[in-house]
């Protein structure tokens, strides 16, 4: 069955393995070097997405899967982004209410 479809040269696994180590070292270095603000968040997100992408595509063989199953996995994940967006706004609203409450009660 899948023996014919998921056999790939050893080389590609080692390349990805090394890349994952390099990206992890970079993201640790972001903390070590002490980047702050948008540079920090941008770099963290960049290395996170690169690592996640390579693990998913090569180690989990998603790159070689059929489009039907790739879409079944990836499309539902967009719902998560929508939820993140909603809760992001919700959290600022909560903070505003808290600030007003503490201002009024004087604590």
């Amino acid at each position: 069955m899948a023996e014919d479809t998921q056999q790939h040269p050893l080389k590609i696994y080692f390349y990805v393995w090394i890349l994952l180590f390099v990206f992890s070292a970079f993201s640790y270095w972001v903390d070590w070097y002490g980047f702050q603000g948008f540079t920090r968040w941008g770099l963290i997100l960049l290395f996170m997405m690169l690592k996640a992408g390579f693990i998913c595509a090569i180690f989990m063989h998603m790159y070689w899967e059929r489009l039907a199953i790739i879409l079944a996995i990836l499309v539902p994940c967009f719902a998560i982004l929508v939820f993140v967006f909603i809760m992001w706004h919700e959290s600022y609203y909560t903070q505003l209410i808290r600030k007003i409450y503490f201002l009024v009660t004087g604590s």
């Binding site: 069955m1 899948a2 023996e3 014919d4 479809t5 998921q6 056999q7 790939h8 050893l10 696994y13 990805v16 393995w17 994952l20 180590f21 992890s24 993201s27 640790y28 972001v30 903390d31 070590w32 920090r40 968040w41 963290i44 997100l45 290395f47 996170m48 690592k51 996640a52 693990i55 998913c56 090569i58 180690f59 989990m60 063989h61 899967e65 059929r66 489009l67 039907a68 199953i69 790739i70 879409l71 079944a72 996995i73 539902p76 994940c77 998560i80 939820f83 993140v84 809760m87 992001w88 919700e90 959290s91 600022y92 909560t94 903070q95 808290r98 600030k99 503490f102």
Partner: protein
Amino acid sequence: MEESSSQTKVTIPPNRGAIKEWASDQKVFKGVPWGKAMMWIFLVSDTFVFSIFLISYMTVRFSTKVEWPNASEVFGLHIGHYNVPLLLIAIMTFILITSSGTMALAVKYGYEKNRKMCAYLMLATAIFGASFVGMQAFEWTKLIMEGVRPWENPFGAPQFGAIFFMVTGFHGTHVTIGVIFLFIMTRKAWRGDFDTGRRGYFTSQKSNYEAIEIMGLYWHFVDLVWVFIFAFFYLW
């Protein structure tokens, strides 16, 4: 069931595009072993679980009035006179990536029917995973000794402890379950179950090297989740 043994060649229909496959009235994921499709669907649901944890973390971190503890200092280790930030977490990250690599190779050697290499590499993966859990236990002990509780901590916002124990605890549970199954699969591979097609004691299905790939999917997912936890919880 008898037809699906590894000896029979199953012809995989040509890829006619996602829309035609979804519109097909037979089955959607043509040529994909059902076990693998089911594992993927489980992983999608698990993605939602971890996403909800991380989203709740984002929500409490954004909405708290108290300063969030600096993870770089909280998880730092004193080595001699130096305070190395996030040292243990970095080691744990590298260990998990190493184990992911050995697992990927185990899957490859499994499909090549290289029984011994497959078993060795899975055993290595299990040992790396177990050492990861051990380090996590050390980290929990250290933080609990320093007074971190799910409801309070000496570093800052009280929500920090709740999020820390919930997120890393749930991830650690996943790693632990993975390690247990890796040991079981190592034994099966070593005994040659996947070559002889011996029936499993639980499902009585014939064993097949596909099971290694399904195990690998779960293990890589555990690594994947750690990538997100490392970025959002420890580095942010």
